[in-house]
């Protein structure tokens, strides 16, 4: 059986910088896969190539065995490949409801008729379901920009959930969060993983060791090692390159 997501000899060059080179990456259904590595290792670039935010210089991306290399970002979202930004990227002047509604309606706008007239109650149902999952239902009508930072990150996750992802790529979701917020987010990620697949770019090593079912270590644009959290902790190259032990 082919993996859920696969890249073959995937490379991306920015001018003189080879950000990702010849990466063969496989992601199986139901995993929580963490990608770690030092700054500039190419983690965000790899995830951006997978989500279609960037297009590769060479190589291929396959989803459920289908070549999606030339598919644009918005079409990949429709397939279920969803990306959340490293830097919080919500619509600050819109309400929390509107933010999630934008994501939820994308899943509902399947025909021309539904693009024009969408049942408001269906939309509200979906939005509320996503808000309940992240615990933001009470602040539904507030402008998103007025939320505290931790809640803005949660809103970002709610928007991703409303898109009903098959693969959810989270780019450094714990960045800037307080320890108790991180713990809550980890629980949330575990709950999402019970029905979906997670691709996690993360710097926070304890979070990675706690959450991930499998870890990929990147360095200088290539995959350095791959394995369970236990194997990665013990891997000599990884210790040298990244963990600094």
């Amino acid at each position: 059986m082919s993996p859920l997501l696969e890249t073959a000899a995937l490379s991306k060059r920015f001018g003189g910088l080879q950000a990702v080179q010849g990466v063969d990456f496989r992601l199986e259904q139901g995993e929580i896969r963490a990608i770690i590595g030092p700054n500039g290792a190419g983690k965000t670039t790899l995830v951006s190539l997978i989500s279609g935010r960037l297009s590769p210089t060479s190589g291929r991306v396959l989803f459920k065995g289908r070549d999606i290399t030339t598919l644009r970002a918005w079409d990949r979202v429709a397939l279920g490949i969803v990306y959340t930004f490293q830097i919080t990227s919500i619509f600050k002047s819109l309400s929390v409801f509107e933010n999630v509604a934008l994501a939820a309606q994308r899943r509902l706008m399947t025909s021309l008729r539904k693009r024009i007239g969408l049942r408001h109650s269906t939309l509200v149902e979906r939005v509320d379901a996503a808000l309940v999952k992240v615990g933001l239902l009470e602040v539904r009508e507030q402008p998103a920009g007025a939320l505290p930072y931790g809640h803005q990150r949660l809103l970002e996750v709610a928007m991703a959930l409303a898109l009903r992802p098959e693969v959810l790529a989270l780019d450094e979701p714990t960045q800037g969060l307080a320890p108790e917020e991180i713990a809550a987010l980890c629980q949330l990620i575990r709950r999402i993983a019970s029905t979906g697949t997670i691709l996690l770019v993360e710097h926070n090593v304890p979070v990675v060791l706690d959450l991930a079912t499998k870890v990929t270590v990147m360095d200088k644009g290539a995959i350095l090692a791959e394995g369970t959290p236990g194997e990665i902790e013990a891997h000599p190259d990884v210790q040298k390159a990244y963990l600094g032990l």
Partner: protein, 320 residues
């Protein structure tokens, strides 16, 4: 958005249309024609606002869309003997074609580049109307009087020269643009357009083909402008190059900013205010542009979001 705000928003918009309908019974003749003209121009501003206020794209080439409607209607009446209904369709088709073409090229750019690209195309369009002056009669233009026979609706014979017909046709076109704007901005599509205005990259990664949505907004905006141009020609019977000039692209921008960018009622308020300020000031002094300038300075100082925008931030946050 709760049911209650939905009904008050829709109610307010219908009340405005009804108020305009009733207004013709009390207006003296001079203002009667003036308000008819304002309504046609407010339809133009509504189209402009859809692109600037709800999609975040500032164009300086909208006179090209207005003039497409105007020439599409005017030339077919003048040369092909079209009557009003066919001529209106010709005007709409012309503006759809022009806005699709401009959209496919111009929307490759954003921000200031988009502003300049639209202005350049519009300038080329304007110069073309002068260059082909054997057909268009250039800036001297031509009149349609005597060429349009009255519309026959049942036993009614409606002549465009009749002030009542003028007023109600203008009202019908304005209401169509006004209510279409309201409906569109409150639909799922409108939500995507606002998202585009706020953050295009994010919108793309929520799964929206942002180019297609921008093109849609531009074509609807351009077609509304074209509908206004076509109606203007039918009602006021004149076609000329000055309506294709850059100045005529700046007007809807000013009206929209004055009334409130990104509000559905703003374009009507802005167009009415500006038209009457010019009218009153030019009755008092030959340098009426001074008065217009003073109003614009006051606007920037106290109502940076425009009249309706200011009302919305201060008192009525539910206004669309």
């Amino acid at each position: 958005m709760s049911r209650k705000t939905t009904s008050s928003v829709v109610g307010l918009h219908l009340a405005i249309v009804l108020a305009l309908l009733g207004l013709q019974l009390v207006l003296p003749p001079f203002h009667h024609t003036m308000v008819a003209r304002i309504m046609v121009l407010a339809a133009y501003a509504s189209g402009y606002n859809l692109l600037l206020g709800y999609t975040g794209l500032m164009s300086l080439g909208h006179s090209m869309f207005f003039a497409s409607g105007m020439y599409g209607t005017g030339l077919t009446v003048y040369y092909l003997g079209f009557q009003a209904p066919e001529a209106l369709v010709a005007g709409l088709l012309a503006s759809v074609l022009v806005s699709v073409a401009i959209g496919l090229i111009g929307l490759r750019t954003t921000g200031v580049s988009f502003l300049i690209v639209t202005m350049m195309f519009s300038q080329a369009f304007y110069l073309a109307t002068l260059y082909f002056n054997e057909i268009t009669l250039g800036d001297q233009g031509f009149v349609l009087s005597g060429r349009l026979s009255p519309l026959e609706v049942g036993r009614l014979r409606l002549a465009f020269a009749d002030p009542t017909v003028k007023y109600n046709v203008a009202l019908a076109v304005f209401s169509a643009c006004f209510l279409l704007s309201l409906w569109l901005t409150r639909s799922p599509i409108g939500r995507v357009l606002v998202a585009l205005r706020e953050n295009e990259e994010r919108t793309r990664l929520l799964g929206y083909n942002t180019f297609a949505y921008k093109l849609l907004a531009l074509v609807v905006s351009g077609t509304m402008s074209g509908a206004a141009g076509s109606t203007y020609t039918l009602l006021f019977s004149y076609v000329g190059s000055s309506f294709a000039s850059t100045l005529f692209s700046i007007y809807p921008l000013l009206w929209t900013l004055l009334g409130g960018v990104g509000t559905t009622i703003g374009p009507l308020v802005g167009t009415s205010l500006m038209t009457y300020i010019v009218d009153v000031a030019s009755g008092l002094t030959s340098s009426y542009l001074m008065a217009v300038g003073a109003v614009l300075v006051g606007l920037v100082l106290w109502f940076p979001a425009g009249v309706v925008g200011g009302i919305r931030t201060r008192w009525a946050s539910w206004l669309p």
